[in-house]
């Protein structure tokens, strides 16, 4: 009987001894690795499209249509590029906006936005939505190297109906991340 009790005690001691260090947090060193020489950099030669007054259910295109703005990749690393839009907000009345459609179409208080890259005959005009989509998505060349540039233009389709006399504001974001 003594043997049993001794065995159980030894077993319990050993069983508790082993997991305890495991339960304790291990001492580690935080490592931060920053590829310091790698800089992502882009430039846009235009940051605004002055439209002025617009009528309902009207299509407006930048001039020139597809060479309006140039995106140039600078820095020293390849990048993947994206484009995203947003709802148009009314300046002075935060309750009113134009929703950006998810397919480039328009509707009442819904507007459409499109972009087209010079030389991109396969896609033509591509809708800009609130979900980021690839700006230059082609396989085997979806990333853009430093020095590469893409000319593009924009198209706006105004809502079929909107409250007139309002100043609307929206932004299109072109982003880049290391490939």
């Amino acid at each position: 009987m003594k043997m049993i009790v001794a065995s159980i005690l030894v077993a319990l001691i050993l069983a508790s001894f082993f997991p305890l260090p495991a339960a304790a947090q291990e001492s580690t060193t935080i490592t931060i690795t920053m590829t310091g020489v790698c800089e992502i950099s882009i430039s846009l030669d235009k940051t605004q499209w002055p439209l002025g007054d617009v009528a309902s259910n009207t299509e407006r295109v930048t001039s020139p249509p597809i060479e309006w703005c140039t995106l140039t990749i600078r820095g020293n690393c390849n990048v993947n590029t994206f484009i995203v839009g947003e709802d148009a907000k009314c300046l002075g009345d935060s309750a009113y906006n134009w929703a950006l459609s998810d397919d480039g179409s328009n509707g009442e208080h819904i507007y459409g936005l499109w972009f087209r890259i010079f030389g991109d005959t396969a896609r033509g005009y591509v809708p800009i939505t609130k979900t980021p989509s690839e700006f230059w998505p082609y396989g085997g060349g979806s990333s853009l190297a430093p020095g590469a540039y893409k000319q593009f233009g924009l198209k706006l389709l105004t809502p079929t109906y909107f409250v007139s006399g309002r100043l609307m504001q929206t932004q299109i974001t072109i982003s880049a991340v290391a490939a």
Binding site: I32, Q48, A176, A178
Partner: protein, 186 residues
């Protein structure tokens, strides 16, 4: 002579009138480094800081804003999940004006809550630096830095399993001797 002076004055006036419009028509050019930040062994309950450098390459000052984004699944590094909560990442300052042809630093803090469930994870988030635009229909440029975080402090299951195995073996030995002894005739 008087006519020449008048003409020069007219040219100066025209330049002064159109200069603001020329400035407005300018684009934006900037860079951010590093392009990728990799943090390993960040324990739950701990925080770490690093700097992002914004380089304004334009001839005019720009306002830059910062924010954290979830990368599209297709764009994430293999084996990495989306960062669970972007509020664990903060920027100081979160917006900054960088003068023309100048450089500025933004300090980024990544703090992981103390719960052990965050140990041994691999996440990716994108730290966006955008040149602000106040135009009615503005085209804004944003650069995203890849933040790759691996948390440390995962429990070592090997030790736990070894402990249980030893315990079972000892109990087995004890039981074996007990029953052998009991079965032995008096």
């Amino acid at each position: 002579m008087v006519r020449r002076i008048k003409l020069a004055g007219l040219v100066a006036a025209l330049v002064a009138m159109f200069l603001p419009y020329l400035t407005l028509a300018q684009g934006v050019s900037f860079g951010v480094s590093p392009a990728v930040v990799r943090i390993d062994n960040l324990l739950p309950g701990e925080a770490t800081v690093f700097n992002l450098t914004i380089r304004n390459k334009d001839e005019i000052a720009h306002n830059f804003t910062t924010a954290t984004f979830h990368p599209p699944k297709k764009q994430r590094e293999k084996g990495r999940a989306a960062f669970p909560d972007v509020s664990w990442i903060s920027f100081d300052p979160d917006q900054i004006e960088v003068p023309a042809q100048s450089v500025a630093n933004v300090t980024v803090t990544v703090a992981i809550p103390p719960e052990q469930k965050w140990a041994g994870e691999h996440w990716e988030a994108w730290l966006g630096v955008a040149a602000e635009s106040s135009d009615l229909l503005g085209v804004r440029a944003r650069l995203d830095v890849r933040l790759l975080v691996s948390t440390g402090g995962a429990r070592s299951n090997v030790r736990l399993v070894a402990g249980i195995a030893v315990a079972i073996a000892l109990l087995g030995c004890g039981g074996y001797y007990y029953f052998r002894r009991k079965a032995r005739p008096e």
